[in-house]
Symmetry: C2
Subunit: 338 residues, 2 copies
């Protein structure tokens, strides 16, 4: 047993077994050209020392590692759901997963983090990467699949039908009788943020409702960014009767702000979000939102990446998954305190 000291290397095994490291490598990787008795000796040495090959050293020399990477900015409910899907898609596939997350949230790194992390992983450690909500176009020597890409990105990607989802939820609000509908937009640059805003605009104009630029606030998908924006909207002389936020996190924050101001939801204000994170079902009232199965986003991205790495991908380069309107208690007809 190795006693917590320096890690056991291949040369330790080689020395104990009385062979060269090349032979140990052959045994470990099951290559041809080692006699049965030598194999047994090496195996026993490996067993006694508790040797395990170093992922780092192996990946440096080899081209394929059977490890896929996932690069993410921060770690939220959104990410967790995506990960479940990714893990399920990779189950029994022979690929392991490495997730790289940098510690400085919202910090000095600003844009380009995805490119930096990608470069650190790919080329050696991983055979390919999934990048979640990058701030720009990504490029890499190994295959990449983007979940929720930047606007105009041409990389292989998986995304929800943000336009249709946003249109549906705004139509829902219009159907309830709302005419002054506020909007809190997502992080500029992301395709999803843009499409959700487009859906909002389209639904309004199709219903013949003029768009009031004063009712459109620029958020960043970060819940905290929504608080002052929601407050500003509600402090107006002519406040909106409903607010549609481009993410559930922001919508929940807007609901909290409304309650702080003494407004009842949905009595005085209807609130709707986008994403359908688990928390949205738990609040009182529940949040009306658009479900984009983040699980499936992850699942499809991993499936696609796996094929790309193997070189047998046949499908389209950009996958768009359907969304679904989920009506809960946070939306009701305007001026109807019940």
């Amino acid at each position: 047993m190795a006693e917590g000291g320096a890690p056991v290397t291949m040369s330790d095994v080689a020395r104990l077994a009385g062979v060269s490291t090349a032979t140990v490598s052959r045994v470990v990787n099951g290559r041809y050209g080692v006699s049965a008795s030598t194999i047994a000796q090496v195996r026993s040495a490996i067993e006694r020392l508790g040797y395990e090959s170093s992922l780092v050293a192996t990946s440096l020399r080899r081209s394929r590692t059977s490890v896929l990477g996932l690069v993410t900015h921060s770690f939220q409910s959104y990410t967790a759901e995506v990960l479940k899907g990714v893990m399920d898609a990779l189950s029994q596939s022979g690929f392991d997963l490495i997730i790289y997350a940098n510690s400085d949230l919202y910090g000095t790194y600003s844009d380009g983090w995805e490119q930096r992390h990608l470069a650190r992983l790919s080329g050696t450690l991983t055979d390919g990467c999934i990048v979640v909500t990058p701030s720009g176009e990504v490029r890499s020597g190994t295959p990449v699949v983007v979940i929720d890409p930047a606007k105009g990105s041409t990389a292989p990607s998986v995304t929800a039908d943000n336009f249709a989802g946003a249109t549906a939820v705004v139509q829902h609000l219009l159907g309830l009788g709302h005419r002054r509908i506020g909007f809190i937009a997502g992080r500029a640059g992301l395709e999803s943020a843009w499409s959700r805003e487009e859906g909002y605009r389209r639904a309004l104009s199709e219903a013949g409702v003029p768009i009031d630029p004063q009712l459109v606030a620029r958020g960043s998908f970060d819940p905290e960014s929504a608080a002052p924006l929601a407050r500003a909207l509600l402090d107006r002389a002519d406040p909106p009767t409903a607010i549609f936020a481009a993410s559930d996190g922001m919508a929940l924050k807007a609901m909290a702000v409304a309650k702080d101001l003494g407004l009842s939801v949905p009595g005085d204000l209807s609130v709707a979000g986008f994403d359908n994170i688990p928390e949205s079902a738990l609040t009182e009232p529940g949040l009306t939102t658009v479900d984009q199965s983040m699980y499936r986003l992850g699942y499809e991205a991993a499936r696609m990446l796996r094929s790309l790495v193997s070189g047998d991908w046949e499908g389209p380069g950009q996958i768009v998954l359907p969304t679904r309107l989920v009506v809960r208690g946070s939306t009701a007809a305007p001026g109807n305190p019940m």
Copy 2:
């Protein structure tokens, strides 16, 4: 711009800048001994090629990498909460995080997975690791912090006060008037499973209630394992009036079984769990349980690991976090159909 081809290496930069790789390395790491003009040349070459140092190569040569690792078996609600805590504790710390998850859930790998993954990461890639619910003792050349360790583990660890939590929930049931309280235990070998059972026993004996071995069933924390056990308990001639399961997943399963048998909860049977996973608040009735903040588990583990790596840890080797009884609708006085 590098056109998606082979990744840019340090020697590419060196060639373009007309210097050696050693000089490039010095510039990248801001070391002394390079003239200002050379620095400028190298910087410009790095910029033009889009070079980023390879994490793998660096970690192989260097001892410190400023990357911490987290090894987990699978990816569930539990894990996601832990991760949020870890990320928040690492925020702005200068440490990045790498999560290693193997793809074959519940598969051939069986026990010892944590030791294998640990060996692959530590020693080179990471400066230290967090291991979540390992199946046995772990050892490593670099610091390790275990979340929810195996019984008898002496490694640094963070765990909830399972004993106090279990005692409290059983006392709650006793206070409601229950005397025949069934118990479904967790996975043998885990410290948490053992402590929860001890809490159950202690609460009963302190109340002067004899322990009926027939009412203690051996589960595995896996919800599916609880179904036949709950059925066996309830099919008895003298069934318990309450069941305490060592995890919410198993408790929810027990509730489902009771309903299948035509029993009402809490009218005919009270059910309590442990963990307070989000689903427990959503069921009808809500599940009475013990809250162990998985977020804090992750947060404290990361904080501890950070100090261990820096060599300035002062606190105890094993941290125990408080738990909190959460009473919901699934528990009531016995024989009281509400």
